[in-house]
């Protein structure tokens, strides 16, 4: 244990913090892109049964591809580093957001949408002023799940020389048995967990700001 703390003292300042920043950035950018894709697709699909079924099936299929394989498969097209990392993470992040967007929009009380239509809101106005705000708690929950999943998967990006904390985990696992190998793995995992907690706190704050007081529990 003492050695681990000593290790952290030396490793944290430069290397681990830079890797954590890159990890968070990769996940943040990917979640943002997943949200744009998932929410937009969800808005088109929630009243169209076929489109909803097809898009959910596609997003579901992507998530079943082993992450190791997906990262590797992208290399011939996108090379190494950030591009395949962002594309793969974005692809993985879509399903929870799309699923929750569709569920959230379909779950809006029909009396509310009926009266919105009845007083003369067009279908676009209903979507933006009524349905999306009311579905926002469910959609935000989907984004949160995506974020947590991607924080874990992002570690795999190291196999395509992607950014983040994965590199230390892989090199540690490759050198298991050597003096600092285990600490290398442990410290990276610990920082991923800390990132997850930080993102979660950010979501809590965001919920307060983004969800109307009228529909908060």
């Amino acid at each position: 244990m003492d050695i681990f703390i000593t290790y952290l003292r030396f490793a944290i300042p430069d290397h681990l913090i830079a890797a954590s920043g890159a990890h968070a950035a990769a996940v943040g950018i990917s979640v943002l892109l997943s949200s744009i894709i998932g929410i937009t697709l969800g808005c088109f699909a929630y009243r169209r049964r076929r489109l909803a079924d097809i898009s959910l099936a596609v997003a579901g299929t992507i998530i079943t591809i082993p992450s190791f394989a997906l990262f590797a498969l992208l290399v011939p097209f996108l090379g190494f580093g950030w591009p395949p990392t962002i594309v793969a993470l974005t692809a993985y992040g879509v399903l929870p957001i799309l699923r929750n967007t569709i569920t959230g929009l379909q779950g809006v009380d029909s009396a509310v949408t009926d009266s919105a239509q009845g007083v003369g809101l067009s279908s676009r106005q209903r979507l933006f002023r009524i349905e999306l705000p009311l579905a926002s708690p469910v959609i935000i929950a989907g984004v949160r799940v995506s974020t947590l999943i991607l924080l874990g998967i992002a570690a795999i990006a190291a196999i395509v020389a992607g950014p983040g904390l994965g590199e230390d985990i892989f090199s540690g696992l490759a050198r298991l048995g050597s003096a600092t190998a285990l600490y290398l793995v442990l410290s990276s995992v610990m920082f991923i967990v800390m990132l997850a907690i930080a993102f979660d706190i950010a979501f809590l704050l965001f919920r307060k700001f983004a969800i109307s007081k009228g529909i908060r529990q």
Partner: protein, 400 residues
């Protein structure tokens, strides 16, 4: 004015039409109630008017303008819309809910804000208190008031109301109905009101359209004519028994002669009250405060027991009604009040008179005479013994 011309609607995948060749006219400033059994197409008919459901054929005219193919969103902004489930927007404050249509039609903020205050006052809710609350903080009755206020926000001349008071407890419902009728006297909207409850139809409607399958009109007339002279067996059975009690819903306290009851000033003291009581032939005297608001009922016994202070003697005068109260609800109040009376007050709460059981009896007698003299008598005989109500039965006995 709303004119419907040969409207027909068949839903996809159904053989029978929901609405078949319906034509009707809703006169300016009147409440027309569509009433009928479940599944008769009354809600569909109402939703055809603001084209939430598009008709297969036929025409809809609003104030003479053919609106069958104008932009439906624009059309709906001109028509108030209230539904049973209310459908307030839960993420918006009460003020924002009411402001929905004014914003859509481009009112400026000042005008909208003034209108919100005006409407909240109109439905009896303090703007300072309620404007910034959320729907979840309101009771069912308050939500429905806001639903009505939202529908009236941009001052539409036409309103559609689908069982607006259907999901509310009976006491609040009756209160909201009365409030709305009072409001309607000022605002004079042209209203289509849907209900399955014939009693509500009689109470609310200037005219009633009784609908049967495919939304065909079985009878379209003023409530009193429908009660006195149902067009056929379907209408008669839909009205049900007790038509004479239902007719009490049509007369208001303002239509009958009130009794001038002995009153005394609360501050004048027990001696004055006793003197008033001695001069009259009644057993109770009504005590009024300085603004002539009814305070307490006292009788001879109370005055004998009392120690001169009247504030706590007798019983509180809680059974009050206004000129617009129907005889039916006045009767209900009478039956539960201590001395079988209802005190009639004006809008400021000041004493106007008293209605008692003889008041009601006199009024029903007058109605019976009217029925006997008019077409109503024939109608009663046509529809056979089983459908007669109590008063009709008595009428025949008297003839025999």
């Amino acid at each position: 004015m709303i004119t419907l011309e040969n409207l027909t609607k068949t839903f996809a995948g159904q053989k029978e039409p929901a609405v078949k060749d319906l034509s009707m006219e809703v006169p300016e400033g009147e409440i027309v109630v569509l009433v009928g059994p479940s599944g008769c197409g009354k809600t569909t008919t109402m939703r055809l008017v603001n084209r939430l459901i598009e008709p297969d054929s036929g025409k809809i005219y609003l104030e003479g303008e053919d609106v069958t193919s104008v932009d439906s969103d624009q059309l709906r902004r001109r028509i108030g819309y209230v539904i049973q489930q209310i459908g307030l927007f839960p993420h918006m404050t009460i003020g924002e809910n009411i402001a929905t249509v004014p914003h859509l039609v481009g009112w400026d903020n000042k005008k909208t804000s003034d209108r919100i205050d005006e409407l909240l006052n109109m439905v009896g809710m303090d703007p300072a208190d309620y404007r910034n609350r959320y729907p979840k903080e309101l009771s069912g009755g308050q939500k429905q008031r806001i639903g009505v206020a939202r529908a009236m926000a941009a001052d539409p001349s036409v309103m559609l109301m689908d069982e607006p008071f259907g999901a509310i407890d009976p006491i609040t419902r009756s209160k909201l109905q009365n409030e709305f009728l009072r409001l309607q006297e000022d605002i004079k909207k042209t209203i289509i009101f849907v209900t399955h409850d014939i009693d509500e139809a009689i109470k609310m409607g200037d005219r009633i359209a009784i609908l049967r399958d495919y939304s065909t009109i079985a009878q379209y007339d003023k409530p009193e004519n429908i009660l006195l002279n149902p067009a056929d067996d379907f209408v008669a059975s839909f009205i049900g028994t007790g038509a004479s009690l239902k007719r009490l819903n049509l007369a208001k306290l303002g239509d009958v002669e009130l009794v001038d009851w002995p009153t005394a000033k609360l501050e004048a003291g027990a001696d004055e009250a006793r003197a008033v009581l001695d001069r009259s032939d009644k057993e109770w005297v009504l005590l009024l405060d300085e603004q002539r608001h009814p305070q307490r009922w006292v009788n001879g016994d109370h005055l004998a027991q009392g120690n001169g202070a009247l504030e706590d003697s007798g019983v509180p005068a809680t059974s009050t009604a206004i000129m617009d109260t129907t005889l039916s609800s006045a009767l209900a109040d009478m039956l539960t009040s201590e001395n079988s009376t209802v005190i009639v007050i004006d809008s400021d709460g000041a004493y106007q008179g008293v209605a008692d059981l003889p008041t009601i009896t006199k009024a029903t007698k007058a109605m019976r005479v009217e029925a006997h003299g008019g077409e109503g008598h024939d109608a009663i005989e046509e529809h056979g013994e089983d459908k007669e109500d109590a008063s009709a039965g008595r009428l025949k006995d008297a003839e025999a």
